[in-house]
């Protein structure tokens, strides 16, 4: 029912031509923001939550909806580290770089992760499997060093234990997908 409505609206030139359901949710946010141009950052947040990242398509769509020049939307979005422009990997490993974790060797963990998976922190492996990132402080300094793998906090990590754990998580995927 909802799908049909979205498709109908797309056909009428409203909303996004792809008819993607998420654009309907984005439209709702835009309406709530009364299409005010100064609501751009809030709308970008919602778009990032909905799509996981801000693709060019989404930026163009928002520029059009808010009647803003594309370069302005791009400039605002790229200013903030919280927005990402590439699709996140299927798995994620976030290493805490807060003071406590850093002192207990978080940097070593990041370096080993980067080397082992041929990826730079903040980026995703070429096969789209793993995103490696760093965080300022996850607020569990007693558990330092902390690595958050797929949203699950793992404590007292070493480079070896992190690599082993991430390897396990990556290896698990095919069986999960087949079931």
């Amino acid at each position: 029912m909802a799908e049909a409505r979205t498709a109908e609206r797309a056909a009428q030139g409203e909303g996004h031509p792809s008819g993607d359901e998420r654009f309907a949710l984005l439209d709702k946010t835009l309406r709530k923001a009364r299409y005010q141009q100064d609501q751009l950052i809030e709308v970008l947040h919602v778009a990032q939550d909905l799509f996981g990242h801000l693709s060019e398509d989404i930026l163009i769509y928002l520029a059009r909806q808010l009647k803003l020049p594309p370069s302005r939307v791009y400039g605002v979005a790229t200013f903030y580290h919280l927005f990402s422009f590439t699709a996140p990997g299927r798995h994620s490993a976030t290493v805490c770089m807060g003071t406590a974790c850093f002192v207990k060797g978080a940097e070593e963990i990041v370096q080993q992760l980067e080397a082992a998976h041929d990826v730079r922190s903040g980026q995703t492996t070429e096969d789209g499997e793993l995103t490696v990132s760093t965080a300022r402080c996850v607020g569990s300094c007693g558990l330092a060093p902390v690595v958050v793998v797929d949203g699950v906090v793992t404590s007292h990590q070493t480079a070896e234990s992190t690599l082993a754990h991430v390897g396990e998580v990556l290896a698990k995927e095919p069986t999960e997908a087949s079931t």
Partner: protein, 249 residues
């Protein structure tokens, strides 16, 4: 320059020189009018105030902070010092940092001899750079048929961004990224030549203080900018003063 109607009514002192200012004038406006030169880079007459380069900072009596002369309106009895040893040092450091931040090699630059950064270096007595040169790996965009953008020579004054938005009305340019990753981008960081909104007017090239934006095909030292044309355009439009321009390009 916002000059109200009627007579100048605000008494100010700039470098010991007494002057009457109009309501709403900035320190820089008054100083320029009475012939006191304040170094500046991002400021351009005819465009909105950006206040990014911090070169036009001045000292105001009984004010603990330096003020940006381009963005500070005058108030009555204001006493301004536009240059002293400290201000001069601050300015020199700012210019040095601008040099350190980019790859400014005058000897191979199209704008050699017509460069506001070069002029500022001379004006602020820069003889060497006290900071580590960053040697940024910035990109060159030569996709436009008529113009070239060399980001290594860009000082991020945003004149091009403002002139494109405010005077031409196309808003092709904006500043993307943050901190040392900031750069001038066209559209969604696309090649300039593919921009559907660029009108090829070239005003961004005319106002660029350095060799970052230049006409294509110019060799070393052959580029001539013309930032003053913007003030002419603005006054002509706002006040209907379409007088023949005296200075030629």
């Amino acid at each position: 320059m916002s000059r109200g109607n009627g007579r100048p009514s605000i008494p100010v002192t700039i470098d010991g020189q007494e002057a009457m200012a109009y309501e709403g004038e900035t320190i820089l406006d008054v100083a320029t009018r009475i012939g006191v030169r304040i170094p500046r880079l991002c400021y351009l007459e005819g465009l909105s105030v950006w206040g990014g380069c911090r070169l036009c900072l001045v000292e105001v009596e009984d004010d603990p902070r330096y003020r940006l002369s381009c963005a500070t309106p005058v108030v009555a009895e204001m006493a301004v010092t536009t240059t002293n040893w400290e201000l001069h040092n601050h300015r020199r450091r700012i210019v040095e940092m601008l040099f350190a931040e980019g790859n400014h090699i005058c000897a191979v630059c199209v704008s050699n001899g017509d460069c506001e950064l070069q002029d500022l270096a001379a004006e602020t007595d820069v003889d060497h750079i006290h900071y580590d040169l960053q040697h940024p790996d910035a990109s060159v965009d030569a996709s436009h048929p008529k113009y070239v953008l060399d980001r290594e020579r860009c000082v991020l004054c945003t004149r091009c961004v403002r002139v494109c938005n405010e005077i031409e009305g196309a808003h092709v340019w904006d500043v993307g990224g943050r901190g040392s990753d900031s750069m001038i981008v066209a559209e969604l960081s696309k090649p300039w030549g593919e921009s559907p909104s660029c009108t090829w007017c070239g005003k961004c090239v005319l106002v660029c203080p350095t060799g970052a934006l230049a006409f294509k095909g110019r060799a070393v030292g052959e580029m001539r900018h013309d930032p003053a044309v913007i003030d002419f355009l603005k006054t002509a439009r706002d006040e209907g003063k379409w007088y023949e321009r005296q200075e030629a390009r």
